[in-house]
Structure formats: structure tokens, C-alpha cells
């Protein structure tokens, strides 16, 4: 002790850092990643690898050579975007399409806005939606590649349950076993395979206090209530709540995408409004829109009103009832 440090209080600091939070999100996605790799095999590994590697590399190159700022890949947020993007694509997506998705996610949606913390829209979803609109054939190719397990489903092609429902109405999805869907889905993006795997990640995020439950739960509740009302009125026309909760991107989106710190409201009340909005828009698209699934669009639309929500919704202050 030769010189004493002097600084204003507080003198202690939490161990939680941006990096540790991002690492926790990565850990929370591991169950979904494992399930997707088990069922979709090498092609899913390729999608994941290309997505993560290009997201990290792109952020490195952009910060270093374009922005000439300190490199930020160490905070692991690019890894999170990479995994999320991969989980939002069909396992059959060609590597160069994945790469374009990464360019849009990191290059356009994240870094153009100023990098982590500045982006208005969730980078992974922007990447996915860009691909969905630009390469609809690849993005709706639900051929199931050879997985490491479940080989019996090999080569099975066709639409997702949501796609079937959009085309053929409720009759087309009759006979679907909801228990199957809980553990592994019949078709869809790689990360949407297993509801249980996603929920395991949700529980982990809550336990580690990475996220608060309000956004996720309000999305799920809204989807359930909205579809519940329509289904109760006309079960022959509208799909039921359980189907709507377990299919498509509702779970993946509500747990990992809508809860993104940067692009969601700060307050709990704001989070609930945000979640209800996402739930309603998702269901409107599913029931009345041109696309079978609306989760991505719903999140992007609600992302855009987050600044407004933040302006209106504030935390309850002490002594200012």
C-alpha cells in the first residue's frame, strides 16, 4: 500500500457484467441448440457454425476497420445474435443465405445504429425477416435433414403445422399430438423444435435474474386469451390456444427475442404493454394475415414503439403516489 485509491461511493460492484449476462443467455439457449442438432444433424451444425462465426467476424471487422472503435466482440452479444439467427432459420438453409442473414443482422440492424445498446430492432429478427422476404423458397423449405436421432422422420417434407392450418384450416391439423409438440415439433425453424427445451432456458434466465418474466408471460397470456376467445366462438374456423402456444415462434420469440434488453421497454408495465402488443399482432397475422406465422413481424412492430412506451411508462417512484 503505497498510494491509496480514492473515488466516490459505492466502493463495491456486482459481479454481473454485460459479458456474464450474454453468457447466461447463451447457456439458456443450449437446450434448444442441442435438440435442434440432435434432430437436424450436420446441416443444423453448419447453419449454427456459419451464423455465429459470421456474426462475430462481421462485428470484429466493422468495429475495427469501418468504425475504428474498440472491438466489442468480447461482450458476447454477437454470439447471442448468431445463435438466435440460426435457431430462427430452417436447418436446410444454405450457408451463403445464413451469411447474408448475418450481414443484415449485425451490419445493418446492429452496427449501423451504433452497436450494442443503440439498435432499435432486434438484430436476429431483422436478419430473419430480411431472408424470409428475399429468399422465401429457402426460408419455407421444411424438408427435414438427417438428424443424429429420429431418423424415421428423414426426408419428410411439407409445411409446418401453422402452414397447414393456414392452407387447410383447422381440419388440416387434426390428429396432431400436442404431447409430441411439447417435446419436439413437427416442422419449423430449428430452434422451435422443442417447447420444453425453450422453457428450460426461460427458467434458467429467470433463476439467474437475467430477465424479468413480464414480457414473456404477457405474450403467452395474450396469445392464449386471444385465440381462446376466437376458438370458443368458432372452433371449426380458428385453431385452439394450446396449438397456438406450442407452434411456430411464439415460445422462442417470447423467451429469447422479445426479452432482448436493448429492444424492449425498461419498466415492468411497459414490458406488459409490449408483450400484449406482440401477442395481439401475432394472432392477427396468424388468423387473418397472409403469412402463417407472425411472431417476427409482431416483435419488430412492437420494437418500433418501445421509445414511446418508455416515454409513457415509468417505474413507481417512492413518495410520489
Amino acid at each position: 500500500m503505497e498510494r491509496l485509491l480514492v473515488s466516490p461511493s459505492p466502493h463495491l460492484h456486482t459481479k454481473t457484467s454485460t459479458k456474464s449476462l450474454m453468457r447466461d443467455v447463451v447457456i439458456a439457449m443450449i437446450p434448444a441448440v442441442i435438440v435442434s442438432v440432435l434432430f437436424y444433424g450436420w446441416s443444423e451444425l453448419l447453419v449454427l457454425g456459419v451464423s455465429v462465426a459470421s456474426c462475430v467476424l462481421l462485428e470484429y471487422l466493422i468495429t475495427k476497420y469501418l468504425l475504428k472503435r474498440p472491438c466489442t466482440v468480447g461482450d458476447m452479444s454477437a454470439v447471442v445474435t448468431g445463435i438466435l439467427l440460426a435457431l430462427n432459420l430452417p436447418a436446410t438453409t444454405p450457408w451463403w443465405v445464413v451469411f447474408i442473414g448475418a450481414v443484415v443482422a449485425i451490419g445493418v440492424a446492429k452496427m449501423t445504429f451504433g452497436g450494442l445498446g443503440q439498435n432499435l430492432f432486434n438484430p436476429a429478427i431483422v436478419g430473419r425477416v430480411f431472408l424470409l422476404i428475399s429468399f422465401p423458397t429457402y426460408m419455407t423449405d421444411w424438408t427435414r435433414p438427417q438428424g443424429f436421432i429420429g431418423g424415421g422422420l428423414d426426408g419428410l417434407s411439407g409445411a409446418t403445422p401453422l402452414g397447414l392450418a393456414k392452407e387447410g384450416g383447422v381440419a388440416a391439423i387434426e390428429g396432431l399430438d400436442y404431447m409430441d409438440m411439447l417435446f419436439y415439433n413437427i416442422g419449423g425453424s430449428a430452434g422451435e423444435l422443442s417447447a420444453i427445451a425453450i422453457l428450460a432456458g426461460f427458467v434458467y434466465l429467470l433463476a439467474r435474474r437475467v430477465i424479468r418474466p413480464y414480457i414473456t408471460l404477457s405474450i403467452l397470456a395474450t396469445v392464449a386469451v386471444f385465440s381462446g376467445i376466437f376458438w370458443a366462438i368458432n372452433p371449426a374456423e380458428y385453431t385452439d390456444p394450446v396449438f397456438n402456444l406450442l407452434t411456430g415462434g411464439v415460445l422462442l420469440g417470447s423467451v429469447f427475442m422479445a426479452t432482448d434488453y436493448v429492444t424492449s421497454p425498461m419498466s415492468n408495465v411497459g414490458g406488459i404493454i409490449f408483450g400484449v402488443g406482440i401477442g395481439i399482432i401475432t394472432m392477427l397475422i396468424r388468423y387473418f394475415g397472409a403469412y402463417p406465422e407472425g411472431m417476427s413481424f409482431a416483435i419488430l412492430i412492437m420494437n418500433s414503439v418501445v421509445p414511446l412506451i418508455n416515454k409513457v411508462c415509468h417505474a413507481k417512484k417512492y413518495g410520489r403516489a
Binding site: 491509496l4 466516490p8 459505492p10 466502493h11 463495491l12 460492484h13 454485460t18
Partner: protein
């Protein structure tokens, strides 16, 4: 269900390493330097000059205003000088230097261990004694105690809250006095309660101090059985959460009421006093002992168990003397804190001396205390979740960096209690409180000039 405050708060490790170290009395050094600024408000005016002979407990400085306090000599001997000397932050302040000769006390002081349980009837005389003995709040703010005990006309005290939360990590001095001087503290509480018109009295203690809770509960029960004036005093166990000991938070936890912005606790019928203040009130009123001693904790993770201490010190003792006596400053110490790690002050000058409100020498290692590099705000909202005042630090710091004074005021920067929860919680190492503290000062100045 244990009670706690309703908004925000954090759960840092409480690190009460020295909680079992009994209070030891520090020997008097050969020389003391007593500051005239030992309290909130105007520094006191010295009434002694070089060459004067003083006794222990003699007034050496008088209050220089309504919010000010008497300062007494903590030693007997000769005044060597009265002049500027650096305090622990390195700022110059008038100190009275006294060469110690013997230990001769003023007349009328009762230094025996006999417990005086009978409470004097004359409230005016009690308040006068508290004032003359220089009693100030020892919970951190060092606000003159007698001022707080005289509610302004029209305001009635409904509840006296004794603050035994000691929510700051590491500090254990309140814990020790609650265990070792429990009856004296309860008597002090009963005195204050009587002065306030006999309101209900609650002693709030956090759950991590079971020994103190037991001792205080037993002391209350015994005094209620054996003496008069102790009805309506109770001990309340509180859930461990920082900053429970914040005045506003404690009122919320104990009474379920919230003080309005810029308001005073008495507006909701509350008066909050620290347990150490209660002990000082006991000594002043029942024993005629002015406030010249207090208990401080010597602690830190880098100190071996045998070097952890709770010391009864006298005001004016050089910190370096105390550190030396306790076994020296540990090699690994990078920062030394006076007070808790959340709200205490980093010591810039170990030649500074103890004051009435000194509560610790806390040694922190570089690994514990050096802040990480600031990175971008990821808008996680953890600062807002942690803020016990329900403020939005992420927003306030943005407004502050852009000098947006109207927005700062609208978003209640003036309500900030500087507890440090926001800066503690921020995963991006943004110096939230550093920035907000400055903005708060500016906004409060603007509000004052408007009036």
C-alpha cells in the same frame, strides 16, 4: 412475513466478518486533533486557544447556528494549537490540537457502570442536555439529535424508529453495541420517546443479526418489567436488504408510509434515530457524558481474523494511530473506507482524525474495488430495478450528461439518496451515481433559488 421496504434494493454479500469481535477500548494517544466539523451544518466555533488547559468532556467549540453542535474535548491536557488541518478527504478544516496529560474528567460525569433506568421528567431539561452534550445522529448523516427531537409546530410524532438495520456490508459496530449495551440503548429510546410525547417505538434490526435481536428483545422485556416509561417499545426483525437503514426506506419498512419528495420523516409522523445515537442520548441524559466516544469497526477480507476489531475510540484520534494499533494496514489494501462500502468515504489522508460519526476503517483490495471499464448501456434496466427511490438512473445519467435540468427535475433526480444501488448493479460499469450526484446538487440548487 418479515418486513422490508417496497421499492428496489440490492443484496450484496453482508460480509459481517467482525460481528463476534467484542468492543475493545482504544488507549488514548499522546496527542489528538479534534475537528470542529463533526456534524451536519455549520462548523462549530472554537472557544479555546493555544495554552489553555482542558479536561475530558469540556466544551472546546460551540454551535455556530441552529443546525450545528457542541464539540467537547476527548482528552485532558494542554491545547497546543487551533488551526487548519486536513480531514480524511484532504480538505482543510479547523482542528483543535491537544497534548494529552493524564485523564482528568470534568465535574458531574458519572463514569460508573451502574444502569440508570429512571427517566427524568423534565423534557426541556432532557433536550438541553442532549444539545449541551453535542449528541448528533450517528447513522451517517450526523444531524444534531435535539433538532430532530423537536418536531415543528403542528407536526406530531407517531412513531420513533430506532435504526439498528446496519445494512451496510462489513460494518458491525451497531451490532456490537446492540449486544453489549442493549439496555442503555433501550433507555435512550425511552428517553427520546418521552420527549416526543410518548409515541410508539420500534427498534428495526435486520435478520442477519440474531444475537442483537435477542439481546435487544430481552432488554426491552426486562426494562418493561422493572421500570416505568418503557411501554410501547418493540423490536422488529427486518428482511436483509440494502439500503434498509436509509431513513426513507426504514420508514416504509416499519410503518408502510412513504415520505413525500423533499419532505421530512415527521410529515408522516416518523422520527428515526440510530441505535448508536440512542446510546449517546443515554450517556448524555443519564450519565452527563458528552459525545466524545463511539464504536468503529476495523475490517476487510484481507485482514486475518485476529486483526478484525470493534474499537471504542475517542474523537480526535489519528486514523493512522488506530490502524497501527490494530496491527497495521494490510499489504493488499488498495482503498481504505471510512464508513460502509456502499456510502462510505474513501480515505485520502490517514493522518485525519476520528469524528463523532466515524464508523470504520474498511480495507478493500484492488480486485474488490477497482471499477471495470465503462461500456455501452445495454438498457437492461437493472439500475431502475435496484433504485430504492424508484428512479430511472439510466435516464437521469443521460439527461445529466446533456445538462437537461428540466428533465432531471421532472424525473426526480432531487429524490436520489445516493445509496449507490444503481452503480453497484450496472453490468456495463457506467458511473451512474457519480454523474447523478452532481446533477442532483445542481437541480437542488435551482429549486432553492426558485424559492
Amino acid at each position: 412475513m418479515m418486513k422490508t421496504f417496497s421499492i428496489g434494493g440490492i443484496h450484496p454479500s453482508d460480509s459481517k466478518i467482525s460481528k463476534d469481535c467484542k468492543i475493545e477500548v482504544l488507549p488514548v494517544p499522546s496527542k489528538v486533533f479534534i475537528s470542529v466539523a463533526q456534524h451536519l451544518g455549520a462548523p462549530a466555533t472554537p472557544v479555546v486557544k493555544a495554552g489553555d488547559q482542558v479536561k475530558v468532556g469540556q466544551v472546546i467549540a460551540e454551535p455556530a447556528g441552529f443546525i450545528s453542535a457542541y464539540v467537547h474535548s476527548s482528552v485532558s491536557g494542554t491545547v497546543k494549537s487551533v488551526g487548519p488541518r486536513k480531514d480524511l478527504a484532504g480538505n482543510n478544516m479547523t482542528h483543535i490540537e491537544i497534548d494529552v496529560e493524564g485523564d482528568e474528567w470534568i465535574e458531574g460525569v458519572d463514569l460508573s457502570d451502574t444502569l440508570v433506568t429512571a427517566i427524568p421528567e423534565d423534557n426541556k431539561a432532557i433536550l438541553e442536555k442532549i444539545k449541551m452534550c453535542g449528541v448528533v445522529g450517528l447513522g451517517g448523516a450526523t444531524f444534531p439529535a435535539h433538532v430532530k427531537l423537536c418536531p415543528p409546530p403542528g407536526k406530531v410524532a407517531e412513531c420513533l424508529i430506532l435504526n439498528g438495520a446496519e445494512c451496510e456490508p462489513y460494518l458491525t459496530s451497531d451490532n456490537r453495541i446492540m449486544i453489549e449495551r442493549s439496555k442503555e440503548i433501550v433507555i435512550g429510546a425511552a428517553i427520546m420517546k418521552q420527549v416526543l410525547g410518548g409515541c410508539k417505538t420500534v427498534i428495526g434490526i435486520e435478520e442477519n443479526k440474531p444475537e442483537a435481536i435477542a439481546a435487544m428483545t430481552a432488554a426491552v422485556a426486562e426494562l418493561q418489567k422493572t421500570a416505568k416509561g418503557y411501554d410501547g417499545i418493540s423490536v422488529m426483525t427486518l428482511k436483509k436488504k440494502y439500503p434498509q437503514g436509509g431513513e426513507k426506506q426504514l420508514i416504509d419498512a416499519v410503518m408502510g408510509r412513504q415520505v413525500k419528495s423533499m419532505g421530512l420523516p415527521i410529515d408522516v409522523g416518523a422520527v428515526v434515530q440510530n441505535v448508536a445515537t440512542s446510546l449517546a442520548v443515554y450517556e448524555a441524559v443519564q450519565k452527563n457524558i458528552p459525545l466524545i466516544t463511539n464504536v468503529m469497526t476495523i475490517t476487510g477480507d484481507c485482514l486475518p481474523m485476529e486483526k478484525q476489531h470493534n474499537y471504542k475510540f475517542r474523537i480526535g484520534m489519528p486514523l493512522s494511530y488506530i490502524a497501527e494499533y490494530a496491527g497495521g494496514v494490510p499489504e493488499q489494501a488498495a482503498k481504505i473506507i471510512s464508513g460502509g462500502p456502499m456510502m462510505g468515504k474513501a480515505i485520502a489522508n490517514m493522518d485525519a482524525t476520528t469524528v463523532k460519526g466515524s464508523s470504520s476503517l474498511l480495507y478493500l483490495t484492488a480486485e474488490q474495488t477497482v471499477r471495470g471499464v465503462e461500456s455501452a448501456c445495454i438498457r437492461c434496466g437493472k439500475c431502475a430495478e435496484a433504485c430504492p427511490m424508484g428512479l430511472e438512473p439510466f435516464l437521469l445519467q443521460k439527461y445529466a450528461r446533456n445538462n437537461m435540468m428540466d428533465e432531471l427535475e421532472e424525473n426526480a433526480v432531487q429524490d436520489c439518496i445516493e445509496c449507490g444501488c444503481c452503480l453497484y448493479s450496472c453490468p456495463a460499469n457506467i458511473p451512474l451515481l457519480d454523474i447523478i450526484r452532481i446533477a442532483k446538487g445542481d437541480v437542488i440548487r435551482i429549486i432553492r433559488t426558485r424559492k
